[in-house]
């Protein structure tokens, strides 16, 4: 039983890694379920059971986290960044960003540039924790 859980955890981690890696691409549930090697219905339920949020929500947080970084680390326009991180509509991007971070992309950008830290830690520590529950962690 427990070995089966470990194996399933590992598959879900593989799918989550795929979202971290390929966030800019149009990922969908069938693709991610294939990465995890489980059925689609099983995938959403198991992912949620493993990481306590749906794959869709995880992917949105990943995309918004990347957008937060790009807004402060580059000069690219909000529209370009929206497309860069995998959103296909500026409306959805702005709404999701505001929902997760608590402020609009352009407002967030005014916080100014970010210091260089190893990217994987920046990814883990600056990711907005949840929808509407908390604002972005302050980045110095």
């Amino acid at each position: 039983m427990s070995r089966a859980v470990e194996d399933l955890n590992r598959r879900m981690l593989r799918a989550r890694d795929a979202m971290d890696r390929a966030y800019a691409q149009p990922l969908d549930i069938p693709q991610l379920a294939r990465v995890a090697n489980v059925s689609e219905a099983h995938f959403i339920r198991t992912f949620r059971g493993t990481f306590d949020e749906t794959p869709h929500r995880y992917l949105q947080r990943r995309r918004v986290e990347r957008a937060m970084y790009l807004l402060r680390a580059t000069e690219r326009s909000v529209t370009d960044i929206c497309l860069d991180v995998g959103f296909t509509s500026l409306g959805t991007f702005s709404r999701s960003f505001r929902h997760i971070v608590g402020e609009a992309p352009a407002t967030y950008r005014r916080r100014g540039p970010i210091k260089a830290v190893p990217n994987c830690f920046a990814m883990a520590w600056t990711r907005p924790s949840s929808f509407g529950e908390a604002g972005a962690r302050k980045i110095v």
Binding site: D7, N9, L13, T74, A116
Partner: protein
């Protein structure tokens, strides 16, 4: 006070599989592999480096069965925080070699302000990165001076 970091430890779920991966694929060498009776003391190191990584299975007697179960689950969720960071003189070449061996990458080589790095998982879920720091970057001309890079 201290003068070196000698051993750090990483939870693995199976020491034989860990050996296949860390030695067989990542190219580390076995430093010590000894049956202490109560545990198998297994450490590996980068060839030429003195720092060892203890590949330890969570279990009795150090952990009670329930806690060991939780530890194993955290490893498979990638949540134990046991990162290893290696350096290399050629990140892309190493990436290609390891990919050919079937290593599971989480991130392909990417240029950062501090160099080129990438990420992978061990078979159990541990996160590993290796990086080609800027001062080790080698250009086509063999020039090893630091070069400025755009952050991605």
């Amino acid at each position: 006070m201290f003068n070196a970091l000698l051993i750090s430890s990483l939870y693995v779920l199976d020491q034989d599989k860990a050996l296949d991966f860390y030695v067989g694929k990542l190219g580390l060498e076995v430093n010590t592999d000894q049956d202490l009776g109560f545990m198998r003391w297994l450490t590996v190191n980068v060839p030429g480096d003195t720092r060892q990584v203890l590949l330890e299975t969570p279990g009795a007697p150090g952990l009670d069965p329930k806690t060991a179960e939780q530890a194993r689950q955290l490893v498979t969720k990638g949540a134990t925080g046991g990162h290893l960071f290696f350096t290399t003189t050629d990140c892309r070449k190493t990436y290609d070699e390891l990919r050919a061996k079937g290593v599971e990458f989480t991130e392909e080589p990417t240029e950062r302000p501090y160099g080129i790095d990438c990420g992978l998982r061990d078979p159990f879920g541990n996160h590993i990165r290796f990086s080609q720091p800027l001062h080790m970057a080698v250009s086509a001309q063999g020039d090893e001076k630091p070069r400025s890079r755009e952050s991605k």
